[in-house]
C-alpha cells in the first residue's frame, strides 16, 4: 500500500474500520446501531452493515461514531447496504 492509498483509506469515512482481537473489537465510522442482541451486534457504516458475532458482549464505549466492544468475538460479517447480493465473511 503506497502513501496515496494509505491516505485514501484513512480519509474514507464511509468504509468501516475495524480493529479486532479475540476479546475486543473496535468499529469506527459507525453511522447507526441497527440491532443489538445477546450474541450479535449490527451497526451501519456509510457503505456497509457490520455484524459482530460472539457472546458476553459489553459495549464499553459508544461515542462519536466509535464503538468499543468487549466479549468473546467469534466472527464479523459485512453486508452491503443497498443490495444483499454480495457479502464477505472473515
Amino acid at each position: 500500500m503506497n502513501l496515496i492509498e494509505e491516505m485514501a483509506y484513512d480519509l474514507d469515512f464511509k468504509e468501516p474500520k475495524i480493529i479486532v482481537s479475540e476479546k475486543l473489537c473496535v468499529i469506527e465510522n459507525v453511522d447507526a446501531i441497527v440491532m443489538i442482541g445477546e450474541n450479535s451486534l449490527t451497526v451501519e457504516t456509510g457503505k456497509k452493515y457490520v455484524t459482530v458475532k460472539g457472546s458476553g458482549f459489553v459495549i464499553k464505549e459508544i461515542f462519536e461514531g466509535r464503538l468499543l466492544i468487549e466479549g468473546t468475538i467469534q466472527g464479523i460479517e459485512f453486508f452491503r447496504t443497498q443490495s444483499a447480493d454480495k457479502n464477505r465473511r472473515i
Binding site: 459507525v30 447507526a32 446501531i33 441497527v34 440491532m35 443489538i36 442482541g37 445477546e38 458482549f57 459489553v58 459495549i59 464499553k60 464505549e61 459508544i62 461515542f63 462519536e64 461514531g65
Partner: protein, 358 residues
C-alpha cells in the same frame, strides 16, 4: 472526566433498545459499559447530564431506572449533605491534631547517681510533665533548671519526637574534686545546700521537694539543725565498680514549726485621774486588768510586726502580771507557727580537712 466525577448506572427496559442507543449515539450522548441482559433489558453507565437527555429521548417508550451513583463529586456532595458526618469528622480531626500537641511520655536516659524520680520532678518544676502542651515548653529554661538543680550534670539534651520527650543527661564521675563541686563565684546558684532550722521549735509539718528529710513531725529541733539534707546516699542497682554511692542536690522544701517565745513588757502601774492640781496624788489610780491587757496586746502586735516574718501566726498567748512599785511587769509566752527552713550551702570536704588539720 465527567465519568470519574459522577456517573450513574441505569437500566433501560423496553422493546428495540438498539433504536434508543442509536438515537443516543446520534445525539452525542456518552454511554459506556452497555451490557445486554436480555432482549428487553440493558445495563449501562451514563453521566447525570446525559441521563436527562437520554430520558428525554426515551420518552414513554422506554423505562429508565437509576440503579446506583458513583464518583468523587457525587461522594463529596452526598457527604456535604450530612452535617452530622462533617461535625464528626471535624471533631475526630480536631481530637487527633490536638492530642498530637501534648506530651504522652517522658523518657530519661543517661543517669547514674541521680534518681530518675528526681529528674522527672525537676522537669515537672519546669512545666514538663505528661499532658503538657508541647509548643508552650520553654526548652532552654528547662535545661537551665536541670543544670541548676543538679550541678554534677555535665550535659543535658532535652528533645521531643512526636509526643514523647527524651531527657538525655551525662553525669560527672564520682571522684569529683571539691573545686568542681563547689560553686564558683560566677555561678553561685549552682551549689548544693541543706535546709537548716533558723529557730528552735517543734516541727509541725515538713515536706521536701528535693533532698532527704532528717526530722519528723513533733520533733523538737535546735537552731542550725539540718532538717532537709542535700546529701542523699543511694544504693547502686547494678554491680559495677565506681558506681556513685551518693548524690548532692540543692535542697528544697517547706518546714512549718511551732516556736515558743518568752517576752517581758513593762508598763506604768498608775494612770492619772481627772482631779485638780492640788490633789494630784489622790487622783492617781491603778490600771485595771483590762487596760493592762490592751496595752500588752498592743506591745505584742508591735513586737510581732518588727520581729516575726509575715507568714507567722500567733497560736497561743499566755500573760503573767507581776506588780512592782510603780510598774507592772508582764511576762508573755507566745506560741508562734512559722516557717523555720533556711538554706545552708554544703561545703564538701570541709569537715574532713578540718579534722585532719586537728
Amino acid at each position: 472526566m465527567n465519568f470519574s466525577a459522577h456517573r450513574v448506572q441505569i437500566k433501560i427496559e423496553g422493546f428495540r433498545i438498539d433504536r434508543l442507543l442509536d438515537k443516543a449515539m446520534k445525539c452525542g450522548l456518552d454511554l459506556r459499559s452497555i451490557k445486554m441482559i436480555s432482549e428487553i433489558e440493558v445495563l449501562c453507565w451514563v453521566t447525570p447530564d446525559d441521563l436527562k437527555k437520554l430520558k428525554k429521548a426515551a420518552g414513554a417508550l422506554y423505562k429508565i431506572t437509576e440503579i446506583s451513583h458513583y464518583g468523587v463529586e457525587y461522594r463529596i456532595k452526598k457527604f456535604l449533605k450530612a452535617p452530622i458526618k462533617i461535625i464528626g469528622v471535624i471533631l475526630v480531626l480536631a481530637l487527633v491534631i490536638s492530642q498530637s500537641f501534648f506530651v504522652k511520655t517522658i523518657e530519661v536516659n543517661g543517669y547514674k547517681g541521680i534518681p530518675e524520680t528526681e529528674l522527672r520532678q525537676c522537669l515537672a518544676e519546669s512545666g514538663i510533665r505528661e499532658g503538657t502542651y508541647i509548643p508552650k515548653i520553654d526548652w532552654a529554661e528547662a535545661e537551665s533548671h536541670i543544670y541548676d538543680v543538679f550541678p554534677q550534670i555535665t550535659w543535658v539534651q532535652l528533645v521531643y519526637e512526636g509526643r514523647k520527650i527524651f531527657l538525655n543527661i551525662s553525669e560527672s564521675g564520682n571522684n569529683l574534686s571539691t573545686e568542681e563541686l563547689l560553686p564558683s563565684s560566677a555561678s553561685k546558684d549552682r551549689s548544693y545546700s541543706n535546709i537548716v532550722a533558723n529557730r528552735s521549735g517543734y516541727i509541725e509539718t515538713i515536706s521536701a521537694y528535693r533532698g532527704m528529710i532528717l526530722a519528723e513531725k513533733g520533733d523538737y529541733v535546735e537552731k542550725g539543725q539540718v532538717l532537709i539534707s542535700g546529701y542523699v546516699p543511694i544504693q547502686a542497682t547494678v554491680f559495677e565498680e565506681g558506681w556513685p554511692t551518693e548524690y548532692f542536690v540543692k535542697s528544697k522544701g517547706e518546714i512549718w514549726a511551732r516556736v515558743p517565745y518568752r517576752l517581758t513588757f513593762n508598763q506604768e502601774r498608775y494612770v492619772k485621774g481627772s482631779g485638780t492640781k492640788e490633789n494630784i496624788v489622790e487622783n492617781k489610780h491603778e490600771k485595771s486588768e483590762k487596760q493592762i491587757k490592751e496595752k500588752v496586746n498592743q506591745q505584742i502586735r508591735q513586737w510581732a510586726k518588727e520581729k516575726l516574718p509575715e507568714n507567722a501566726q500567733i497560736l497561743n498567748k499566755d500573760l503573767n502580771f507581776s506588780y512592782k512599785e510603780n510598774i507592772i511587769e508582764v511576762s508573755v509566752t507566745l506560741e508562734v507557727r512559722l516557717q523555720i527552713g533556711e538554706e545552708q550551702e554544703i561545703l564538701i570536704g570541709q569537715e574532713n580537712s578540718d579534722s585532719s588539720g586537728d
